[in-house]
């Protein structure tokens, strides 16, 4: 049961998550490899709007990023970090096996290039603390120049969003 825990016990997050499934699965917006870079997502009006909606309406806890947790040289980006934290939650805590994150390092970057095929990974499950720490360490050490998302949907594979068992009775 514990591996079903996730932070998507929030209707706003579910709607946001669903938006990404539709965007990636039922549109021709993604590149050939099925990915969109962060910059492309933010340039897409509906997606930008959905991230803002999640940011405005989700639980306080999902918006909260402690300043102390952010390295000094990135604190200048705190407003952007807080704005993008709901998207990070959808990617890391949605308990969807279908979210993948890819990247280009500074050495590999050139405009109009998609993620290195070997860089794709799926965020570890919420309860897999060890793997999540390793993934965080990896992201920290890579020197990432561009980041990409690939999100499948329940239409292409059997995925069920499981709520935490503590969802209050309605």
């Amino acid at each position: 049961m514990t591996n079903m825990l996730n932070s998507l016990n929030d209707s706003i997050f579910e709607l946001g998550s669903r938006h990404f499934s539709i965007l990636f699965r039922h549109s021709f917006s993604p590149c050939d490899d099925g990915s969109l870079s962060l910059n492309e997502c933010l340039s897409h009006a509906g997606t930008s709007c959905k991230i803002r909606q999640m940011q405005n309406q989700c639980h306080e806890r999902r918006r909260a990023i402690e300043t102390d947790a952010v390295p000094q040289n990135y604190r200048q980006y705190m407003p952007a970090i807080k704005f993008l934290s709901p998207l990070a939650y959808v990617c890391c805590n949605s308990n969807k096996s279908r979210v993948q994150i890819g990247n280009l390092t500074r050495n590999e970057f050139s405009p109009g290039k998609t993620a290195t095929p070997t860089s794709w990974f799926t965020p570890a499950e919420f309860t897999d603390t060890g793997n999540r720490q390793s993934q965080a360490d990896m992201l920290e050490g890579l020197g990432i120049a561009n980041i990409f998302l690939r999100i499948g949907s329940g239409h292409s594979n059997q995925v069920h969003i499981e709520h935490t068992p503590f969802r209050p009775m309605v």
Partner: protein
């Protein structure tokens, strides 16, 4: 009983070809909703022309230089790291009770 009924008015564009039967007299309305690849009952597939395509803005965003995209990418990477490290999801009902609906 005729093998083929005429279509009811207004059903020309409907998903299900109502009233049709096979030459053997079987009704076709039990075709799975997902459809079969040959679509022998005449239902229309999803029209790709209605799907959103890559517009100019997305294409331009794809080709932005590093200096333009770096702030947002750095911020998102830091957000991912923070979320992966803090595991800030609701785990107990006491924690859940801290947040109003």
């Amino acid at each position: 009983m005729p093998k083929v009924f005429s279509k009811p008015p207004g059903s020309e564009r409907s998903d299900t070809a109502r009233g049709f039967r096979t030459p053997q007299g079987d009704r076709l309305e039990h075709t799975p909703r997902g459809g079969r690849s040959d679509r022998s009952d005449g239902r229309r597939g999803r029209d790709d022309r209605e799907k959103e395509t890559r517009d100019r803005m997305i294409e331009d965003a794809f080709r932005q230089p590093l200096e333009i995209i770096r702030p947002n990418v750095s911020a998102f990477v830091q957000a991912l790291i923070a979320v992966l490290r803090k595991n800030g999801a609701v785990q107990t009902d006491d924690e859940y009770a801290q947040f109003p609906e």
